[in-house]
C-alpha cells in the first residue's frame, strides 16, 4: 500500500458524490486501462486484416514459410516495420490485460 496526497477539494467533492477516494481512483484506473486495451486491440485488428493472419501465425510463418515472406513484400514493402509495431502491440495487450486482471480480482 502506498499513501498519496490528494487535494482536499477532490476529497470533498468525492464525499459529496458518495464515493470513497480509493474507489474513485480504482475506477479511473480501470477506465484508463480499458481504453488502452481497446486502442491496442484496434491496432491488432488492423494488422490482422492487412495480413490476414493472427500475430502468432505471422510470426511463425515469417520464419518457416518462404512463399509467405515473398508475398509479404507485395502486401507491404516495409512489413518489418509493421512486425515491430505489431509485436509491441501484442506485448502491450498482454501487459495491460494482466494489470487489469490484477486490479479487478477480489
Amino acid at each position: 500500500m502506498t499513501t498519496i496526497a490528494v487535494e482536499q477539494k477532490y476529497v470533498d467533492a468525492l464525499r459529496w458524490l458518495g464515493d470513497a477516494p480509493d474507489e474513485a481512483f480504482r475506477r479511473y484506473t480501470v477506465e484508463r486501462i480499458r481504453a488502452k486495451i481497446e486502442e491496442l486491440e484496434a491496432e491488432n485488428a488492423q494488422y490482422e486484416q492487412k495480413y490476414n493472419v493472427t500475430y502468432a501465425e505471422f510470426n511463425e510463418r515469417i520464419s518457416t514459410d518462404e512463399a509467405f515472406v515473398l508475398k509479404l513484400r507485395q502486401i507491404e514493402p516495409l512489413w518489418e516495420r509493421d512486425s515491430i509495431h505489431w509485436e509491441f502491440c501484442i506485448g502491450g495487450l498482454k501487459e495491460w490485460r494482466g494489470r487489469l486482471t490484477n486490479i479487478l480480482k477480489p
Partner: protein
C-alpha cells in the same frame, strides 16, 4: 542493450535531430516489458524511417529504411527472423534456427545480404558512403 532503453532512445532522438531534417517522433512508448521508438526524418530528398522495439530480456528488433521521393524503398536494414535470411545464412539447416533474428539488408529487386548489427551510426555511414 540496457533495459529500460530510455537513455538509448534519448541518444537516438538526439542523433536524428543532429543529422536529419524534419525529424518526427512517430511513436515513443515504454511499458514494463516492451519499449518502442519510431523516428522519421529526411536526408536531402530521401526519407528515413527508423523503428526499434526493445524487450525486457534486452533483445531488440529493428528496421532502418531509406526511401526515395516517391516513398519507394531504396534499401532496408532489419533483423527479422525472415525465412529467406535463415536459408541464406544456414542453407539446408535453416530449420534448426527458426525465429533466430539475423541482421540483413534488402533492396527492392529482392537482393538480400547478411550484415553486421545495424544502428543509427552504421546506417548514417551507409547513407553517406552510398548516396
Amino acid at each position: 542493450m540496457a533495459w529500460p532503453p530510455d537513455e538509448h532512445f534519448e541518444a537516438l532522438i538526439q542523433k536524428a535531430i543532429d543529422f536529419l531534417q524534419n525529424v518526427r517522433i512517430a511513436r515513443h512508448t515504454v511499458y514494463r516489458e516492451y519499449a518502442i521508438l519510431e523516428l522519421q526524418g529526411n536526408w536531402g530528398n530521401y526519407r528515413i524511417i527508423i523503428s526499434e522495439v526493445h524487450r525486457g530480456d534486452k533483445t531488440v528488433k529493428y528496421s532502418y529504411y531509406l526511401l526515395d521521393q516517391d516513398n519507394g524503398l531504396v534499401i532496408g536494414f532489419d533483423n527479422s527472423a525472415d525465412n529467406l535470411v535463415l536459408r541464406l545464412r544456414y542453407g539446408s539447416n535453416w530449420m534448426s534456427h527458426l525465429h533466430e533474428e539475423l541482421p540483413h539488408q534488402h533492396t527492392p529487386d529482392g537482393d538480400i545480404r547478411l550484415t553486421e548489427w545495424m544502428d543509427f551510426d552504421g546506417f548514417i555511414a551507409w547513407v553517406e558512403n552510398n548516396l
